[in-house]
């Protein structure tokens, strides 16, 4: 009974996100037609328009087919990571993305880990030391961290550690893993600062609320040691809601990555996105947009499933407060 109910809940979530993704992909594909100028012009980009190139593009992108068929073909290709050729470099978009993806993934991964490593302990500390100088100090730095745009933080770090102290390289992604990591440290830190603010704020608020609950008092009244109460109750109950933040956090990391890659001249996906947007390179733009959308839908799904696993009230169809 219960497993079936849970399974149907999981399936329904998957379907919802799949549906959203299809909707987004449709909008992304339509960009080709709803943008000013005709489709051929958009695909041509800055190249010269001749009857031959036009005919070539028409065949390559099936432009003579009905709209929905085109979409279907585009989607089928997209699933196989074939997004056509860049209108600027005329090289396959996939090659460009493949070359840049590792840099962005390492950057985002390191930044995510840093965000959590900075954010959660600070949030826990602030909650445990509520209304003390420690708490006020953390809260104040959160407001500053929160209000510091990624690119401002990046430039400041770049200036202090790259220019003034010369500890870290000021641009590029490096070659080889260790060198990459060294190159990506400053970018990852600047990316983590803003995200950590969100996590600290959320962790603190949730923990203060949990520690104030009757069930925590009742656990202490039964003689459970305070360490046990803190670890077992507060963390278990308190960190569940922190999961929900991971989605907006991911969104802010993806956004931030764009700014950071531009600041540090890292050849990554974000950098590519900005370039292709500036040069109106539609195939590349579509590919990146779809990639990011898929990533975010998967993260959404993961967060939902984690939440379901962690909180029985969701599994059993009760709303949480």
């Amino acid at each position: 009974m219960r497993t079936r109910a849970t399974a149907s809940l999981v399936v329904s979530r998957i379907l919802v996100y799949a549906g959203m993704l299809v909707l987004i992909s449709f909008v992304i594909f339509s960009l080709l037609y709803i943008t000013p100028g005709d489709a051929v012009g958009n695909l041509l980009g800055t190249r010269r328009r001749t009857p031959e190139t036009e005919e070539l593009l028409r065949r390559q992108y099936h432009l003579n087919e009905p709209f929905l068929t085109q979409y279907w073909i585009w989607l089928k290709d997209a699933v196989r990571f074939d997004f056509g050729n860049s209108s600027v470099s005329t090289l396959p978009v996939t090659d460009e993305i493949n070359a840049r993806l590792p840099n962005s993934l390492i950057l985002a991964g390191v930044a995510y880990v840093l965000t959590m490593l900075i954010g959660i302990p600070l949030g826990l500390a602030a909650a445990a030391k509520k209304s003390t100088a420690v708490d006020r100090g953390i809260v104040a730095s959160v407001i500053v961290g929160f209000s510091t745009p990624v690119f401002v933080g990046a430039v400041a770090l770049l200036y202090v550690f790259g220019v003034l102290l010369g500890w870290f390289p000021v641009f590029g992604a490096g070659t080889g893993f260790v060198d990459k990591l060294w190159h990506l440290t400053l970018p990852a830190i600047s990316l983590a600062i803003a995200g950590a603010g969100l996590i600290v704020k959320h962790t603190r608020a949730v923990m203060i609320k949990v520690l104030d609950q009757d069930y925590v008092t009742f656990a202490r009244a039964r003689g459970l040691t305070s360490r046990r109460v803190y670890l077992l109750y507060a963390l278990r109950n308190g960190l569940i809601p922190v999961i929900t933040v991971s989605v907006p956090l991911l969104a802010s990391l993806v956004t931030g990555a764009v700014l950071v890659e531009v600041t540090f001249s890292i050849p990554g996906i974000g950098d590519l996105l900005v370039r292709s947007a500036a040069s109106q390179d539609l195939p590349t733009l579509q590919a990146i947009a779809l990639l990011v959308a898929a990533l975010i839908m998967v993260a959404n799904l993961a967060a939902d499933l984690l939440y379901m696993a962690a909180d029985p009230r969701i599994r059993h169809g009760r709303s949480t407060t």
Partner: protein
Amino acid sequence: MIAPGKSHRPAAHETTTSTVLKVRDLGVDAVGPDGTDPIVSSFDLDLAPGETVGIVGESGSGKSLTARAIMGLLPGSLVARGQVEYGGRNLLELSEREWSHVRGREIGFVLQDPFTMLNPVFRCGRIIEESLIRDGRRRPPRSERRAEVLRRLAEVGLTDPSVADRYSFQLSGGMRQRVAVAAALARDPKILIADEPTTALDVTTQKEMLTLLRGVQKARGMSLVLITHDLRVAFAMCDRIHVMYGGSLIEVAPAADLESRPLHPYAQGLLLSEPSLDRRVVELPSIPGSVPKAREVVDCCAFATRCEWVADTCRQGRPPLLEVGRLRRSACVRLPEIGAAMDAKRARIDVAEPPTSEARSERPLIEIRDLRKEFRIGKRTVTALDGVSLSVNQGESVAIVGESGSGKTTLARTLLGLERCTSGDICIDGVPAHDWSKLSAADRRRLRGTVQMVFQDPYASLNPMRSIGSTLSEAIRSHDRGVKDTAGGVADLLKTVGLPPAYAQRKPAALSGGERQRVAIARALAVDPRLLVCDEPVSALDVSVRAQIVNLFATLRRERGVGFIFITHDLSMLRQITERVCIMHRGRLVESGPVDRILDHPTDPYTVKLLQSIPRSGAAWIDAPVTTEARRTPAGGGRRTGGRDLMGEVCDGGDTHGAA
């Protein structure tokens, strides 16, 4: 572990010199940036083995904080001082590490709200199990732990093993409270402190819970400290009672003595404002004013502001608690002078009043026929009203009695057009009103001017951003748009409900609960309605204030001829406020008739059960089984009970969507 059921301590009632817990001069202070505020002061308590002591007080009396201070569980901003002696140690000096050996093992503690006390992400079995295992001890094998958990659940009357595998939110309130008691008793404490253990429960569940507590206590020879605001519960359960007011003790007495002859004006006032179940009185004796804050009464008798016998001596310092008889102590400095007057007042009140047949017309104002209301929650349909028929005459006062989930609140809301019924007919003053949205604007205004509502929670029923005056003048204008100057009307309304006109300038936050409820009544009266529907109008108020509001209702009826429908779960008020009673159970009207007939000769089994559940003094009531209806067995019924509980929340909590 001590096996439950092995009694190794002397029974109650004997006055032994041995005490397990000795509290001396306990105080609780709020430490803030601008100095310390005393919240509780000079609290004393001696607890004998096996004894039950009640701590009775209204909200703000400091009774719950006292219990928390004894457990070392005060919130961070509060500090305890004084002595709490247990096992030769002053508990207040323990470190947090030492405390974990005392809490649960020596003294157990049950909180008020069963809905928030159990961690929602753990199964019930696990919650009990984690209390069974002490830190540092070897964990017994899984099967043994499971068996022990089931044994503990059985001790509190939960014999269905599947309860251990449920989450707390899948259980009813009563079952949750049982699980909580089992968890609190897991380490076999010698004392159990229960803070309002039945306040959040329905009256029939309350009786079961109290019986259970009493049974467990006897079987284990445990001492019990019962904290409650309900004198009747205290009389039913306790050997001795400590009465608190404004943060300090004002009287300590054996339960029977307190009930027959209280020796402090406040204790007497509290006792008298509890209406008698058996007879009707002319006017409920009420205590004027409202409960003061502890810091406002530091240097005088806390009750001085409301006492009818107050004199200058009462205001010279805090009166000490003095021995005034065998095992009796009172904090009234004027007791020798006013004792006789107090006795006389009690005797005067004790005279019963025959039921008066008030003048009322036989014309029905409201006719409800076969009313049904269904709520959809996800895929399930819950029936809140299942074919209810009812008619109320002009000027009549009818009570609709039921427990949570009975559909009584839904009935009221449907009548007011706040909820749309699924089927059935409502006719108000000749206007068909089963669907208010289909009425013409004129009809709707006429109905609004005929029926009005007073809500349960006085703290939320006034818009906190508006002054009393603007709330009332808006209500006046809603009825009569032509009114230019409403100041006079506002003053009249305030006068009607017994408030000074100057209150028009105030915001709700500056008013006490009782005063807010008066304003809420005034707002309803602004449109000059012929019928007031009152949803639990006094249950959120302090006991000493309830009588004032009940008397106000009586006055309104007498002087303005307003009729009433009271929605209530409290049977004790019935005889004072109504002449006709309808009993609701699971969406249906199970019995209705004149108040005396229903209370004295109930016929429906559910009514009988309800009446038997009203607390009465003495052990006889506690130990008497609830006869008629089969006890709610957890076996197989657990999930259903959970659902029913949900229904209670839905029906009584209300759902704003859909009827707007």
